[in-house]
């Protein structure tokens, strides 16, 4: 946008064009955001005194994080971590296995309309509720322990995996599917030779990514009784054993980093 200065009609100053071009929209968005911000902050009820009290507490809190205590309590940390890893593995496998039929059903180009609607609503339901709410109910139904966590994480995996699988199938190339169909393949052969090779590389990458998510989530389902490292972490917090909590958090971070590296490596190998 070019401005004319008062002295000469020749433009000398250049202004960046704004991100939102319509002026009324830009200003009403800014105004609306400001009003919302004021209302939100007013209703937040920040107790300055309590925050001030908390600051030295925070210092003590993070101070007692160091040095992290990896060797505490006869290895409960490692036991919890291992339980989380096993839980993440089987819930990913179970979730992916359950997602395959649901994902196939939720792809518009494969499934009849009523199957499509049914599978889509399963996906929507599983995606809406965070794993932790699923875990609360799983604990109510199956009792405390990793089995409840396993059920919750598997159900959470369906919403994620089946949705992406369905979208990938919908985007897969029509011509390859037709070519295989033209050879006289039956439905299973058609899925196996025309659809599966197209979506497989991405699906393997996504399963490793989901494994990573499930491991991270397994750190919280324990807070409501779903087993795994979350239970250990919660115990450490409620016993004020912050050095153990710090050790657990560091181990979680390290494992997530390893998983992230492994997933990018595996994806390269598959493609």
């Amino acid at each position: 946008m070019i401005k004319n200065t008062a002295l000469s009609s020749y433009p000398v100053v250049w202004d960046k064009p704004p991100f939102i071009k319509r002026a009324w929209l830009r200003w009403s968005i800014i105004l609306g955001a400001l009003i919302y911000l004021i209302l939100a902050l007013a209703s937040m009820d920040i107790n300055i005194q309590r925050v001030m009290e908390g600051l030295p507490r925070a210092q003590r809190f993070f101070g007692s994080f160091f040095p992290p205590n990896f060797a505490d309590n006869q290895g409960v940390v490692w036991e919890g971590i291992l339980e989380s890893i096993w839980m993440a593995i089987i819930s990913t496998v179970a979730g992916v296995l359950l997602s395959i039929p649901i994902g196939l059903g939720a792809a518009r180009n494969l499934a009849p309309f009523w199957v499509y609607m049914m599978c889509r609503s399963i996906i929507a339901g599983s995606r809406t509720f965070p794993e932790i709410i699923l875990a609360i109910f799983a604990v109510k139904l199956f009792g405390f322990g990793p089995f409840a966590g396993f059920i919750a994480l598997s159900l959470g995996t369906i919403g994620f995996f089946a949705k992406l699988l369905a979208e990938d199938i919908e985007n897969s190339s029509e011509s390859q599917a037709e070519a295989v169909k033209a050879t006289g393949a039956n439905w299973f052969q058609w899925i196996n030779y025309a659809i599966q090779p197209q979506v497989m590389p991405r699906m393997i990458g996504l399963s490793v990514y989901r494994l990573d998510i499930n491991f991270r989530e397994s750190a919280v389902v324990g807070i409501v009784g779903g087993g795994g490292i979350g239970a250990t972490l919660n115990t450490a917090f409620s016993r004020y054993e912050f050095d153990v909590a710090a050790a657990i958090l560091l181990v979680i971070i390290a494992i997530v980093m390893v998983l992230e590296y492994a997933s990018s490596f595996l994806r390269k190998w598959v493609q």
Partner: protein, 274 residues
Amino acid sequence: MGAMMAVLHKETDFVWRRRTTKKQVLIWISWLIGLSIVMFAWNVISEKTIWFFVQDAPRQAADIGSRMIPPKWSYIFELITPIWDTINIATLGTVIAMVIAVPVAFCAARNTSPHTTVRLFALFIIVSSRSVNSLIWALMLVFILGPGVLAGTIAIGLRSIGFCAKLLYESIEEIDETQVEAIRATGAGNLQQMIYGILPQVLPTIAGVGIYRWDINIRESTILGLVGAGGIGLQLNGSINTLAWTQVSTILLVILATVFVSEWVSAKVRGAII
């Protein structure tokens, strides 16, 4: 894949195979290893399971299900303030996250990072923020700030930094260098290059990522109340603990509705931006 066609020689016939024998064996071995890991994991978990409770689950589910119907609709009016709090936690948390994530992303991107050590530090911030769940952040912040909306907001903010910064720095690394070069050719300094060359290219991504994360945060902030960090989770936890199942089903329906609305808003806004 598939440099050569794999063919099996069988006396006089040639039989088409999808893979060479060596590759096929390798795939079988990896399946075997994977399967044994899964079996082992299953063993560990099932050893720690009390199967009586699992067998009892269908009866329990029917029992809870029957107690949840019909939802207590009059309870909805008591949920207006908690839902407002939940939305505030998500929105303000996203704002905090974006304000911090943008500089972190510029430090983490290979082409804009001032120094390798700064880059490693930024990457560490991203990974640690991503690995620690918002519920755990909230658990810690409730210790420090006391229970309430503020702890939840900051927890959501801290959790979202990593996510937003990761997506942003990947998009910063993928920008078109020629535009930056054009700005540099006019004699612009480093900061000016950033503002006029890089920022306009990533601005849609910044807005898109913010909206996307806001949508996720709405979902996450519904549960923060479980550890006392405000929002509708507080009511959910209270209702579950007092076995008020008709209130629980009302709360779940309200969460469902909120998430649907936020998803719709997010999709619309992202559609308008990109």
